[in-house]
Assembly symmetry: C2
Homo-oligomer: 211 residues x 2
DNA sequence: AGGGTTCCATAACGATCAATATGAAACAAG
DNA sequence: CTTGTTTCATATTGATCGTTATGGAACCCT
């Protein structure tokens, strides 16, 4: 059930560039400079592909960005699986924040979070792009909430646990860490923030028959 | 010690628009749509002032934005005073987060935070504008840290209180709430996030001779 | 070798960008 | 009323924006 990995051209001149590698470069460019503020000229330079080839391969700038954003965000199902694998919702969120802190301070990638910065604001023309980014965030939020409520149902968290508040806080800290990273905060600083943001979680209910 | 309120023109044609009101409109436009993604054409429409008048009154787009941003952020001294007035650092930060949650969900202003969204990313040309926004954030961070350390010195907080971590967390939550607000979160949601983000603060040391 | 098809590089499209040149209009002072 | 000064509205600047038309080049199939 993969998205057609190679349409297998039967005829015509073969593609002279690696579409996947070019998309990766585009993603990095958008990550660095944002959607509207990254020009086609910037993209041709970053991707090593001329403008007509970009349009032939990706449609237009908007679709290229959306594809780059999906590549950045990854399959939501993967996050869901990771959340399902984690022993508790708390562990899952802690991992998510830790991964974000690490990702935002990579030395080979731009600082911060593409989802947080690339479409933080913009003109009316780009409203649908911002909405697409918001949709990604909402998907993450839904996964967090669902995992917390699963723990509540299993008796691992108190019934009065505020699942939405905890999820919103995790999301806010994630997006906020992006700003800190852009401002130059190092990895340890973000990891400390991530950890500090989780002390509000209710104490887990330890199962009597465990161990 | 106010910034000259009216240079008192002695001669020539008088200004036909209210400079201060126009700046306010520009601030709202940048708040809504960001620095680079708000065009001069957008600004003339929002401000009700023609382009040459904008350039005469504010210099260029960059200086107009910087002035609008200073207007948005207000005098850092005011925040410092508010922090000094608060009974504890914890109260000061709680107030700051609460005010942010309220500001970001105003119904007469754009959603979110101008400092967080207007210069979250952008082209190389606007690097200095982003740096100016970062400087504002660093100033806020410094004020928070100083106030926390003041409480530590006064014995209101444990000596091992992580002042920088708490300040970074507060800043991250503030900037993160801006994203939530832009995504449509309501005021109560943000207020709940703000409150939840503060439970990690160490218990205050109650003075024996108080009361 | 000769179609058929697809991609490449070059160059250009109209639109919009930030910023100004120009000259008339509106005021104060003499 | 004239002169000096400043702002006004109009129109335009060169540059860059996203996008595309054009024609040759590179490949598969017969």
């Amino acid at each position: 059930m993969k998205t057609d990995p190679a349409p297998r051209r039967k005829t015509g001149r073969p593609l002279s560039f690696d579409r996947d590698a070019a998309l990766e470069k585009a993603m990095l460019a958008f990550w660095e400079s944002g959607y509207e503020t990254t020009s086609i000229s910037d993209l041709t330079a970053a991707m090593g592909v001329t403008a007509p080839s970009i349009y032939a391969a990706f449609g237009d700038k908007k679709r290229l960005f959306l594809e780059a954003m999906r590549r950045y965000a990854g399959d939501p199902g993967d996050l869901e699986k990771a959340f399902a694998r984690a022993p508790t919702a708390r562990d899952a969120v802690a991992d998510m924040l830790e991964n974000a802190a690490t990702l935002y301070t990579g030395d080979v990638t731009p600082k911060g979070c593409l989802l947080a910065s690339a479409a933080a604001t913009g003109s009316k023309d780009a409203a649908d792009v911002r909405e697409a980014a918001a949709k990604e965030r909402r998907a993450i939020r839904a996964i967090i909430i669902a995992r917390i409520e699963q723990d509540i149902e299993r008796g691992l968290l108190p019934p009065d646990t505020k699942s939405r508040v905890l999820a919103d806080l995790a999301l806010a800290v994630t997006q906020g860490m992006s700003v800190l990273a852009r401002d130059g905060a190092d990895r340890d600083t973000l990891l400390a923030v991530a950890k500090a943001s989780m002390v509000g979680w209710p104490s887990p209910i330890v199962g009597r028959n465990a161990v």
